[in-house]
């Protein structure tokens, strides 16, 4: 059966991945599989069955009109080179990402948790029981240790994932059978992904609610402070859940070139990368120039949120313009 699928894969290698083409490929694969299974059931040997199925496949030229490809020869010329990703490479990418994404999630959780000791100390300090040294020991030291560990995790796992960056940026291609397998896995994974995200969101809502409720009941005293610590604790767990939960789906999306990782999306991302390379340095210069001339640091930070929003707009415009001209 592998032979048949890889034969089909090769036939479709240079065709654009339009929905029509993908559907045709799937239908043809099913027909060939049915025929193969029946031949085997009839008692044919495997080689014989494969030979018959392939010899009765026909000719793709016949489908060019139905698939809206016009002249097949013309569409073979792709403007960007396509990189083939082997099964082993894909599997490795998935396993490394799954491992790393958990550690990165843990790092983010540590960052969120890092101020907790300080918050608790600050709350207890209403009883004025701490010296400055104790503050540093029990508050700041854990803060920096946690952030230190987190940064180490980010750097180490960021580097491990870096060699797979090309999967996200270049046009890739995977074996048909692998694609099918991944789609099935993706389908199966969807429920657990959704559950993790829902639990994450619920935890966040709970965290904020308990702060609001406790804050309004005990307007003074230590309850508010502890409640803030609980908020950080719960949000940390929620964020970890959401990050680790989305890792698998992201892998599938990257390998199947879906969502923001379609070939078109990759082209757009490249343009946005270039724009970002010019945009952010300019924003930084504006920020520094404005801040140093007015020395109004307490106000000039407003540049960043505004720049962020504007960048989002720019990216959307780029997407609309490039997406519009290509279709």
């Amino acid at each position: 059966m592998e032979t048949i699928l890889s034969y089909l894969e090769n036939m479709f290698l240079h065709l654009p991945r339009t929905p029509e083409v993908l559907r045709a490929k799937e239908e043809l694969a099913t027909m060939m599989e049915d025929k193969y299974n029946e031949l085997i059931a009839e008692g044919k040997r495997e080689n014989e069955a494969v030979g018959i199925v392939i010899s009765e496949f026909g000719n793709l030229e016949e489908l060019s009109e139905e698939l809206g490809l016009g002249d097949l020869e013309q569409t073979k010329e792709e403007d960007t080179p396509v990189k083939r990703v082997s099964r082993g490479e894909a599997k490795e990418y998935i396993s490394v990402t799954l491992k790393s994404i958990r550690w990165i999630g843990l790092g983010v959780m540590l960052c969120i948790w890092s101020p907790i000791p300080l918050v608790i100390l600050g709350t207890l300090d209403k009883l004025s029981m701490f010296t400055e040294v104790q503050y540093v020991c029990y508050g700041l030291v854990p803060l920096f240790v946690m952030i230190g560990i987190a940064v180490a995790l980010f750097i180490y796992h960021g580097m491990r994932l870096e060699r797979f960056e090309y999967l996200k940026k270049e046009s890739i291609e995977i074996e048909f059978s692998l694609e099918k397998q991944l789609r099935q896995m993706d389908e199966g994974e969807r429920t657990s992904f959704t559950i993790k995200i829902i639990v994450g969101v619920m935890l966040c809502i709970f965290a904020v609610l308990q702060l609001l409720v406790i804050g309004s009941i005990y307007q003074t005293g230590m309850a508010g402070g502890f409640s803030a610590a609980v908020l950080l604790l719960v949000v940390g767990v929620a964020v970890y859940l959401m990050i680790s939960g989305s890792g698998k789906r992201e892998c599938f999306k990257v390998l199947l070139q879906e969502g923001e990782f379609t070939r078109k999306g990759k082209k757009i991302n490249k343009i946005i990368d270039i724009v970002a390379g010019i945009y952010w340095p300019i924003v930084t210069v504006v920020y520094l120039a404005w801040s140093f001339t007015t020395m109004d640091w307490g106000f000039t930070w407003i540049v960043w949120p505004i720049a962020g929003v504007l960048f989002g707009c720019t990216a959307a415009v780029v997407q609309a313009v490039t997406g519009g001209t290509e279709s």
């Binding site: 045709a24 099913t30 489908l63 139905e66 698939l67």
Partner: protein, 107 residues
Amino acid sequence: MVGSDVMRGYNDFMILFLLLEEDSYGYEISRQIKQISEGKYIMKETTLYSAFTRLEKEGYIEAYYGTETNGKRRTYYRITKEGREFYRAKCEEWELVKEIVGKFVKM
């Protein structure tokens, strides 16, 4: 064995015939064509698929997903009212073709 060139105009016709009785799917149709023609005509997979898309575009058949059997989702096809009308017209056409070409046959 008949070459696909000769049969070109009648692929759609044969598929519609098979769908008159009941809905069916890709391989089943190709198997029945082989069986009914006593192995004298084997429709290639690409020919079959191209006929499906063409017939669907014309509105003569409709595709739908059948129930899953052991994890596999199959596309089934059903004939439409227009499809039945088209089939009848093709039958009449065939009688005419047979009559005309028959006049030139000498064995």
